[in-house]
Symmetry: C2
Subunit: 384 residues, 2 copies
């Protein structure tokens, strides 16, 4: 079986991920930050190590500004529900995932928040000038995906971050498709909120994710949940210090153990090497399928402008059927449809039927990609 | 090492728990409900199997009414934030954990919700009549722990549920200390919301939990988060059907695989056998420490009135020091302090210093408990 759905979740994980989880489950097993005994302290060290590695990866100001959530969707909901009030204006791009669009539509409908959706072009590109033009006095938040989960298009985050820094607005970056692949410097970009998923290119297990938050944003951010934190237990109100303010209840220590190992794998391997490999695979794929009659690829042609996620359509073909045939006849696992991003498909002109999506990861090989290219060549002939 | 902190998290887990997690990570690895390929479908089956077993355990009306959250604190926040509006009245007991008290204090302060805290007696007992007396026309919710995480006291849930059923109020039951030990029949009790943790007596890993919700409560319950669900992906709003309405973003498939195996372990072993074993350990412990001068035990003496969590104080001793000595000199892991339940300690008279808490689990043995009894005898002599 050839797995090309790394934009959904990375598979396989490096061996260190499971090893770390197994170690926790079999030999530690305790709750961090609750008891004072060795097992609890050891669990606390596992959590701290993961925070420290994420701090390094994202150049966060401190470990305590790294907060764990069950996935990136919860992280984005923390920002959207916790920072916005009635009358606030929010800017987003037309390439956003439903993890951003759905909570914002909710806030628009029920909480008097106003949205400006800045249109991207049909390759998913966003113009920083278009964002600048809609910035207003009451713009409270600019929320942007770092790269599209449909087309792989990288958005011009540096320029937009610079524009947002000149205002009072918070800049929220969704790195679900880029953390672990592209370099992201929280402090250099002057970000307020960096949402990350743990189970994609950070090679942690599902059930992990989180955010890095600036002191400025953390102060006004109302936590999505309150509960026991193992700290200030004499108080019936949530503590206001980090990370406890935003982490209520028992944390996912086994998952975070795996995530910490995954992030260490990324740090040890190096972003440059990971990016280079995924770039090569993507270029090989795009070059290989370029001449196939009836195949149309969405997203940028230039490798610098994209990550390893490729969306395509095949003239005259039902893409669900193509995906099913790729699996049945070639053992190739890809995903067809809207990929939880209806706005993005409206932008690139593939709504509502969607696209066939190939997304490569560090563990894919050139041989696997060549198999996919050959399979598409053969299949396409049967449709055109 | 002897582990007596099962009220915080159960340790060890049955072998099936981590075997199921290992199987998912190494041999499945895909996201459920997203792709149409075999790995994704297999992941979906793992999630469904866990829902099905929880439905059986709690006698829930349907699998789709079993919702997964990262822990029980999130589940309780779903109920509290999602069902309450300004002007609503909420009844809770004075034995509640901060997972209930903190979100309710937040709603009281910021959302115009009014609280009635019904006092329990000094063993943690709650009188159903006292609850009946504070029920009002605008009582929207009664939220109750099934058993105290401090004293182990079981609250009279059947009687109170019957009283609440005569009103329009929602009955929210926190089963963090009882799911997997006591029989809990969602339909017979007429519950609206049963919050459960996965990593205690259900023998799943940390990072798991959830709730069972009635159709009546689900309808009006505003989800705490919105995001991608892999369903209705053409829509920019959250789907309104179960379980998708309440499950946004990538679910913790590896954790839920472990939880499903843990619940199967409970079903296979049988609640009666588990309860009987934990009861025996608790009785052995309570009988063994009864005569120790200076030791005071909180919570009921009758085994029918309590679960396997025992809180005690030792005259003249700093309990943090006692816990540290138990670990250093006897390899015994217990927890001292407030256990995230300041209200409960105010109720039983141990605020703010707290108690020393022993909590037994199915994998503890009589020999281990006897070791603890002996250790307490020896230590107590040095303090009194």
């Amino acid at each position: 079986m050839l797995y090309f759905d790394n934009a959904a979740t990375s598979h396989p994980k490096p061996e260190v991920t499971w090893k770390a989880m197994e170690h926790y489950l079999k030999h530690v097993g305790c709750n961090p930050g609750r008891g004072g005994y060795a097992g609890s302290i050891e669990a606390g060290k596992i959590i701290f190590a993961a925070r420290e590695r994420l701090k390094t990866l994202f150049n966060a100001p401190s470990e305590k500004q790294v907060i764990f959530t069950p996935n990136v969707t919860y992280a984005l909901n923390f920002a959207i529900k916790g920072l916005l009030s009635p009358g606030d204006h929010v800017i987003l791009s037309s390439m956003e995932h439903n993890s951003v669009v759905r909570p914002l539509r909710f806030m628009e409908k029920h909480c008097g928040v106003e949205l400006s959706i800045v249109p991207c072009d049909r390759t998913g590109r966003l113009s920083p000038d278009d964002v600048r033009r809609v910035l207003r006095k009451n713009t409270k938040m600019v929320v942007l995906t770092h790269a599209s989960n449909v087309t792989g298009t990288i958005l011009p985050v540096e320029e937009i971050a610079a524009a947002v820094r000149e205002t009072e607005a918070f800049f929220v970056l969704d790195t679900a498709q880029t953390a672990g692949v592209l370099s992201i410097d929280f402090q250099a970009l002057g970000l307020d909120f960096l949402a990350f998923t743990g189970h994609k290119a950070l090679y942690g297990p599902p059930g992990t994710g989180g955010f890095v938050v600036s002191e400025r944003a953390a102060e006004g951010l109302i936590p999505l949940v309150q509960g026991g934190t193992g700290s200030k237990s004499d108080q019936e109100e949530q503590p206001d210090f980090l990370p406890d303010k935003f982490e209520a209840g028992t944390v996912n220590t086994v998952g975070i153990a795996g995530l910490g190992a995954g992030v260490q794998f990324v740090l040890d391997t190096g972003l440059a090497k990971i990016r280079e490999h995924e770039r090569n695979l993507t270029e090989l794929f795009l070059t290989g399928i370029k001449e196939i009659p009836g195949v149309r690829v969405y997203g940028p042609e230039q490798m610098d402008e994209r990550v390893a996620t490729v969306s395509l359509t095949l003239n005259g073909a039902d893409l669900g059927e193509v995906a099913a045939r790729l699996e049945a006849e070639y053992g190739i696992m890809v995903r067809s449809g809207l990929h939880c991003s209806p706005l993005a498909h409206k932008t690139i002109g593939t709504f509502p039927t969607g696209t066939l999506r190939f997304s490569f990861g560090y563990f894919n090989t050139e041989e696997e990609v060549q198999t996919a290219v050959k399979a598409l060549h053969t299949l396409a002939r049967q449709y055109c």
